[in-house]
C-alpha cells in the first residue's frame, strides 16, 4: 500500500494498465470525508456534516432515496460541487480545493456521457490524451481496456451505434483506462432494463475485482446496493443513517428508516421504551434476547420491533407455537403467490397495520379468513430506534 494510485496514474509511462492492475491487489485509494457539509441556502443543507472513510479497494455504495444527499456527496468527492465546510482527503491529502480535472478520479454517469462526436476508441483515449500519454501506449491501453469490458470490436463505432448496455461499457472503459485514484459511479445502471442491469452488475463486480481500486457507487436501488457492495452507507435527508455490510444493514438495522429501506419488514411500534429483557406491544409482552437491541441512542426513547417476513411463521393452533417465541394473533387477509413461497398478509386487529409472513408455497392449509397465530424467534427480531 505504499504506492498510491494517485501517483501511479500521474506517471503515464507506468505500465500499469487496467488489466494488469488486477495482479496488484487492493492498491486503491482511501477516501476520507470529515464533517462534509453542502448548503445551497435552502431550508436544510443538502449534505449535513457527514463523516465517512472509504477504505482502499473497497466497493462502497451510497444508498438512499432521491434528495437524500448521496449524489451531492459523490459530486463533492468528484469536485463538481464545492464544499460548504468539511474536508475530503484522498490517501490523506486534502483535495477539497482542487478542480475536478486535477483530482484524477474516474466517473461513470447514468446517461453514459459519451462524447457523441467521437468514436468508441476516441472516447476511451480521451483521458489518456489529456494526460499526454504517448500514442503507441494509448493504442495499447485502449485495446486492453476494451477487452476488459468485452467490447473488443467496436472501437470504430460512434456511441449512437451502440446499445445502452454497450454504451455504459464504453463509459466504464473510459473511466478506468487512466487508472484513476478511484471510480465514482453515479447510478450508472439506472437507465437500463432489468436484465441488462443484472448483467452489468456482474460485470462491474468482476471489473472491481480485477482492477482492485476503490469504487464509490450511488444508487437508490437497495437490491443493487446489496448485490454489489462491500459496505453500504445509507443516506437519509442529508445525513448517513447507517454504514455497514449489506448483511449488517439487513439483519441489524439501527433505525426504522434502515429497516424499511432495505427489504420488507414487519414493524411494531412499542408501547413504551423496551427493557433489557422485554417489550410491550398492544398489551402483549414480548421477550428480548441480548444482541438484538440497536445501540442507536434514539432506541432508548422510542423503539420499535422489526421482524422480517421470512422469519415470521404462522400456525393454526396456538399450541403449535414453540415456547419462547413471540407471537401475535391474526386473521389471514390475503395470500400472494411469489413462486417459491407465498406471502400471507395478516390482519393484526389494528387499523392500518398489516403483517407479512412467509408461507410454504406447497402448504395449502391456509386460506383467506383463517384465524392464525403469527410467531417468530426473539433472536430473529431487532429493536430499532423509531
Amino acid at each position: 500500500m505504499t504506492i498510491s494510485s494517485t501517483s501511479r496514474a500521474g506517471t503515464p509511462t507506468s505500465s500499469a494498465s487496467a488489466a494488469s492492475a488486477a495482479s496488484a491487489a487492493k492498491q486503491g485509494t482511501q477516501i476520507r470525508l470529515e464533517g462534509v457539509t453542502k448548503d445551497y441556502g435552502l431550508a436544510a443543507p443538502a449534505v449535513d456534516d457527514i463523516s465517512l472513510t472509504i477504505e482502499p479497494g473497497e466497493f462502497m455504495t451510497l444508498l438512499g432515496p432521491s434528495g437524500s444527499g448521496k449524489t451531492t456527496t459523490l459530486n463533492l468527492i468528484a469536485g463538481f460541487e464545492t464544499l460548504t465546510s468539511g474536508t475530503i482527503a484522498l490517501n490523506g491529502s486534502d483535495v477539497g480545493s482542487l478542480p475536478p480535472h486535477k483530482r484524477n478520479l474516474g466517473m461513470l454517469f447514468q446517461n453514459y456521457a459519451l462524447f457523441p462526436h467521437m468514436t468508441v476508441a476516441q472516447n476511451v483515449a480521451y483521458p489518456l490524451k489529456e494526460r499526454k500519454v504517448p500514442k503507441a501506449e494509448i493504442a495499447r491501453r485502449v485495446s486492453e481496456v476494451l477487452d476488459l469490458v468485452q467490447l473488443p470490436d467496436r472501437d470504430g463505432n460512434y456511441p449512437s451505434q451502440l446499445s445502452g448496455g454497450q454504451q455504459q461499457r464504453v463509459a466504464l472503459a473510459r473511466a478506468i483506462v487512466f487508472n484513476p485514484a478511484a471510480l465514482l459511479l453515479d447510478e450508472p445502471l439506472g437507465a437500463l432494463d432489468r436484465n441488462l442491469r443484472a448483467a452489468l452488475q456482474t460485470e462491474i463486480r468482476r471489473i472491481h475485482r480485477e482492477v482492485g481500486s476503490t469504487f464509490v457507487f450511488v444508487t437508490h436501488d437497495q437490491e443493487e446496493a446489496m448485490n454489489l457492495s462491500d459496505r453500504i452507507a445509507l443516506f437519509n435527508s442529508g445525513h448517513i443513517e447507517q454504514v455497514g455490510s449489506p448483511e449488517q444493514l439487513y439483519r441489524e438495522p439501527d433505525t426504522l428508516f434502515t429497516a424499511r429501506f432495505l427489504g420488507d419488514s414487519n414493524v411494531f411500534d412499542l408501547d413504551g421504551a423496551a427493557s433489557a429483557t422485554s417489550a410491550g406491544w398492544d398489551g402483549r409482552t414480548w421477550s428480548i434476547v441480548p444482541g438484538t437491541v440497536s445501540s442507536h441512542p434514539g432506541a432508548a426513547n422510542r423503539a420499535a420491533v422489526v421482524v422480517r417476513p421470512e422469519d415470521v411463521r404462522v400456525a393454526h393452533d396456538p399450541a403449535d407455537v414453540p415456547s419462547g417465541s413471540n407471537s401475535v394473533g391474526a386473521v389471514v387477509r390475503d395470500l400472494e403467490y411469489m413462486g417459491s413461497y407465498r406471502t400471507a398478509l395478516l390482519d393484526l386487529g389494528r387499523v392500518r397495520q398489516l403483517g407479512r409472513a412467509r408461507v410454504d408455497a406447497l402448504d395449502s392449509t391456509f386460506t383467506v379468513g383463517d384465524q392464525v397465530t403469527a410467531w417468530w424467534k426473539p433472536e430473529r427480531q431487532r429493536i430499532v430506534a423509531a
Partner: protein
C-alpha cells in the same frame, strides 16, 4: 415532416389541394423569375452577353465585392454577439430564458420601416451614437451614409437568425458531457474546445450561412442608411431596373444573386435544415423582410 405512419396510398385529391398554392407561387415567383431568366439570355435568341458584362462592366464586380465584404462583416458581428447570447440562453432559468427569447424576437416584431427609422435617428450626423463616440474622441466616424451604419443596423436585424439556430443547437448539448470531460482530466477551457464547440458546429454553420445569405439581398437598410456611392448589390439591381430600364442586365444580375443565394441555402440545409429552421422560427416569430 412526413410521418412514417402514413404510408397508405395517397388519393388523387391530395395533389389537387396543392394546385392553388402552386398556382399562386407560379404567378408571383416562378413565371416572373423564369421571364427574368429568358430576358437575361436574350430570348428569343440566345446570348450570354448580359452575364459577361456583369464581369466586365467594372461596376458589378466592385459592388458585388463590397456586398460580400459587408455581408461577411455583418455575419461575423452577428456570430460574435449571437454565440455568447445563445449560450447564455441555455444556461439561465426558464423564466429568464423566456425573457431573453422575447428580446430576440423584438427585431421581428418591430416593423421594418420603424426599425430603419429608429436607426436613422440613432446613427445620423449629430445623433446620439455619434455623440457617444465623439465623447471618447472618435469624432470622425460617420455612421449614416456609410458602410459602418449599414453594418450596425443589418447586424441587429439579422441577429435573430444567428441566435435562433444556435440556441436550438446549443440547447441540445448535454452539459454533463462537460462535467465528464472535466472528470477525465480536461480544464474547463479544454472541455469547451474539445467537446462543446464541435457539438455546436452544426448550429454555427447554419447560422453563419443563413445570416450571410440574408445580408446579400438586403435592400431597404442599405438604401436608407448607406450612401449611393457605396451601394450594395440590391441597390444596383433596383437601379438597373427602375432607372436604367435595363431589364436584361437586371435579369442577369438577379439570376446571379438568386443562384448564389440558393446555392448557399442548399449547402446550409445539409447542416440541419435551414429552410425548416426558418420555418420553425416563423411559427414563433416572424419573417424578416429586407
Amino acid at each position: 415532416m412526413t410521418t412514417t405512419t402514413r404510408q397508405r396510398r395517397a388519393p388523387r385529391p391530395s395533389w389537387l389541394l396543392l394546385i392553388p398554392a402552386l398556382g399562386l407561387l407560379a404567378a408571383v415567383l416562378l413565371v416572373p423569375l423564369g421571364q427574368s431568366l429568358l430576358t437575361s439570355v436574350g430570348a428569343p435568341g440566345f446570348t450570354l452577353e448580359h452575364y459577361a458584362s456583369l464581369f466586365t462592366d467594372g461596376v458589378t464586380l466592385t459592388v458585388l465585392g463590397r456586398t460580400v465584404a459587408t455581408a461577411a462583416i455583418v455575419t461575423a458581428v452577428a456570430f460574435l454577439l449571437g454565440y455568447p447570447y445563445a449560450y447564455l440562453m441555455t444556461r439561465v432559468g426558464p423564466r429568464l430564458r423566456g425573457v431573453l427569447l422575447v428580446i430576440v424576437l423584438i427585431p421581428f416584431w418591430t416593423s421594418v420601416m420603424a426599425r430603419n427609422y429608429a436607426w436613422i435617428v440613432l446613427l445620423q450626423r449629430g445623433g446620439p451614437v455619434q455623440s457617444v463616440f465623439e465623447f471618447f474622441g472618435a469624432d470622425d466616424i460617420a455612421f449614416q451614409g456609410s458602410v459602418v451604419g449599414v453594418t450596425v443596423a443589418m447586424s441587429q436585424v439579422l441577429l435573430p437568425f444567428m441566435v435562433l439556430p444556435l440556441f436550438s443547437s446549443l440547447g441540445g448539448i448535454d452539459r454533463r458531457l462537460l462535467l465528464a470531460a472535466r472528470g477525465l482530466g480536461s480544464s474547463p477551457l479544454v472541455a469547451f474546445w474539445k467537446i462543446y464547440w464541435p457539438l455546436s458546429r452544426g448550429g454555427v454553420v447554419s447560422g453563419l450561412i443563413l445570416v450571410f445569405t440574408l445580408s446579400l439581398g438586403f435592400y431597404v437598410t442599405p438604401a436608407l442608411l448607406g450612401s449611393p456611392q457605396q451601394s450594395l448589390i440590391a441597390q444596383l439591381l433596383a437601379q438597373r431596373t427602375t432607372q436604367l430600364l435595363d431589364f436584361a442586365g437586371a435579369g442577369a444580375l438577379g439570376i446571379l444573386v438568386l443562384v448564389i443565394t440558393l446555392t448557399l441555402v442548399a449547402w446550409a440545409n445539409r447542416f440541419g435544415g435551414t429552410i425548416s429552421a426558418i420555418g420553425a422560427a416563423a411559427t414563433t416569430d416572424r419573417k424578416e423582410q429586407r
